[in-house]
């Protein structure tokens, strides 16, 4: 028999309600003892001291970077792949607020949150990689290297982090219960979205533009004057795929937080359609790059086969699978294809930064276990932050009092 819960409950403080999910402190602590949290805790218990070790003893002690290979997976994975996969923020915001596709509204908030956390942790990965991260304010406030692509990236990322943070203010204010502030934050949405798309176009492409400076180091199949366009277009596909994956995982993991009215499958199919078209176009522009450089003979080499695998297996194949899955409502196929596409984007970014870079030099780079562990730790902290926020703020569903009809 259910005990009647209609009686008045003891008054809980703001912290208990907002931070401890309405539970008393000890009960909240006990509720944290889950297997997932245990694994995350274990990872952080190893990873956080490793980060300290890197800063105390220097990059040489913690990484396999060398004079020949100055960039490793903290750049290739944490920074480049992280930023590409966080592109769901601007892609979904554009779809919903600029193209007016209101049916995707249920996924725009998690996409913006994924975007914000993605960028935040990409920047943290960068800070781990920089030799002197305390000088991060220098390119913003003190000394401006205008001709540098890196300079433009630094500015764009700083501005874009701000934009994403501000785009995420409405759910924060709803959580805090400040309707006036929330209204003011919502009014900024369209302006922020436009600004954000602009910044994203610039820095997504510029991250590729960095490698324009390495014509002799980067393998000719990946080196092209069009790398900026490749990075930008693939970031759209990456963002859409990441939103499909994230929404699938969130709807399983956060059962009590989702809006059961939302047909997430239908939305995923729509996103798959978009990703399919983008990947199709991306395949052809990469093909154009091969033609433009006259590089056909290179396809018949070891690196050529790897390039073909990236093109056919990680770009053309997911494009076709997304198309088939979207058309025939195969939601499981679409989800697995999205995960595969995410992997493909990571493969591409690692190719450009680490694998096809210095391809003709005997001293090749392999990440140290510490570099891998730090990357895993940063991702774990990012996911944990995502969970913390989603469990408290209206990200996966709207509060009824703010429900826009």
């Amino acid at each position: 028999m259910n005990s009647p819960t209609a009686q008045a409950l003891p008054e809980r403080g703001w912290i208990n309600e907002k931070i401890f999910l309405g539970m008393p402190f000890w009960e909240y602590l006990r509720s944290l003892a889950t297997p997932g949290n245990f694994v995350a805790g274990l990872i952080m218990a190893i990873g956080v001291p490793l980060i300290a070790y890197r800063f105390i003893f220097g990059l040489g002690a913690a990484t396999n970077l060398s004079q020949t290979n100055p960039w490793g997976i903290w750049i290739g994975f944490d920074m480049l792949s992280g930023v590409a996969l966080a592109a769901g923020g601007y892609s979904l915001a554009t779809a919903v607020y600029i193209f007016g596709l209101k049916e995707y509204h249920p996924v725009v908030r998690p996409a913006v949150l994924t975007g914000f956390l993605g960028y935040l942790f990409a920047v943290l990965g960068l800070a781990a990689d920089l030799g002197r991260p305390w000088n991060l304010p220098v390119p913003i406030f003190l000394s401006w290297g205008g001709p540098s692509v890196m300079f433009e990236i630094a500015w764009c990322v700083v501005l874009y982090l701000t934009v994403l943070g501000m785009e995420f203010l409405p759910p924060v204010f709803e959580w805090l219960g400040w309707p006036k502030a929330r209204m003011w934050a919502v009014r900024m949405t369209i302006g922020l979205t436009v600004f954000g798309v602009m910044l994203s176009t610039l820095h997504q492409s510029s991250l590729g533009g960095l490698f324009l400076m390495a014509p002799t180091r980067l393998h000719p199949l990946w080196y092209s004057p069009f790398i900026p366009a490749y990075f930008f277009i693939s970031s759209i596909a990456a963002g859409l795929s990441m939103v499909i994956v994230e929404s699938a995982l969130s709807h399983r993991a956060f059962q009590s937080r989702i809006d059961h009215h939302v047909n997430i499958d239908k939305l995923a199919l729509g996103l798959a359609r978009g990703a399919s078209i983008v990947l199709f176009a991306y395949f052809f522009i990469k093909l154009q790059g091969v033609a433009d450089g006259g590089r056909w003979s290179l396809l018949n080499t070891g690196y050529g086969y790897w390039f073909l695998l990236e093109m056919l297996g990680f770009i053309l194949l997911p494009s076709m699978l997304f198309a088939y899955g979207a058309r025939n409502s195969r939601i499981t196929l679409v989800r697995w294809t999205a995960a595969w596409t995410v992997l493909g984007i990571i493969v591409n970014r690692l190719n450009v930064s680490v694998i096809a870079m210095n391809w003709n030099v005997p001293d090749r780079y392999i990440p140290s276990w510490m570099e891998v562990m730090v990357s895993i730790t940063l991702v774990t902290i990012g996911i944990s932050t995502f969970r913390w926020i989603v469990n408290r703020m209206p990200v996966l569903r709207e509060l009824p009092e703010y429900h826009e009809s």
């Binding site: 309405g22 009215h261 006259g294």
Partner: protein, 240 residues
């Protein structure tokens, strides 16, 4: 820019134009294929994986069903026989069941008239209205041994009966689906929340309120009358 030898430039340029034309030719059919007709997938009930204590504030409303205001649903099938059941709201309202009394095969049922009776574990009963006119052709045999299925999985395993409809098109006029059904559920919910004690309102969205047997949670003494009000089978609702 890697300099080109002028001679290879000619063939390279022709190839580039060729690839671009190829892309344009392929793009049109590809776009059509991708945008092609797609069925809206049936709403998967995720309830089965949810621990009973997890609170969700909304109720599952699959898009492939049509709903009657008495909180019953019906679903078409190719052979012309419709499947009938109770919706998630009704299931949660009444809570765990000890018996579902269905009409015998061959009985005539009428839309808006009493269709079946639910008996909760404390022995009290609530009637529900049939969403359709027709003749009962099959009952869900599983319910006689496991009546709780009707409450835990109301849309799939917990279907109640199959009916051969006599006036399906006319019946449909009184049924709700899609956006209209959602709006109706919003209104129902608003009506239900009015019954909650004020102090509970803020906690409702973050969990803590068990949903199974909501009527009992609101009013333990007269929950069956409260449930009947929502299911439109209260004394004053029935057309004698």
């Amino acid at each position: 820019m890697i300099p080109h030898d002028i001679l290879t430039l000619y063939s390279a340029k022709m190839l580039e134009y060729g690839i671009a034309v190829l892309f344009l030719l392929l793009f049109i059919p590809f776009w059509k294929y991708v945008q092609g007709p797609s069925r809206v997938p049936a709403f998967a009930t995720s309830r089965a994986a949810t621990p009973a204590a997890a609170a969700a504030e909304w109720f599952l409303m699959p898009l492939d069903r049509a709903f009657h205001r008495g909180h019953a649903w019906l679903k078409d099938s190719a052979d012309g026989i419709v499947t009938v059941g109770m919706d998630d709201f009704a299931a949660k309202l009444v809570g765990p069941l000890s018996r579902v009394s269905l009409p015998a095969v061959g009985t005539a049922v009428g839309q808006g008239e009493t269709g079946w009776r639910l008996e909760a574990i404390d022995g009290r009963t609530v009637d529900m209205l049939s969403p359709v006119d027709g003749t009962v052709v099959e009952l869900n045999a599983a319910l006689s041994s496991a009546p709780e299925t009707a409450e835990t999985d109301p849309y799939e395993q917990g279907w109640l009966m199959r009916v051969r409809p006599s006036r399906l098109r006319a019946n449909r006029m009184s049924l709700l689906s899609g956006q209209a059904a959602r709006q109706w559920m919003d209104e129902t919910l608003a009506g239900l929340r009015g019954h909650f004690a004020p102090g509970l309102g803020a906690l409702a969205q973050d969990g803590g309120v068990p949903l199974s047997g909501m009527a009992r949670a609101i009013d333990a003494e007269h929950w069956d009358q409260l449930a009947a009000t929502f299911l439109l089978t209260g004394k004053e609702d029935l057309h004698a």
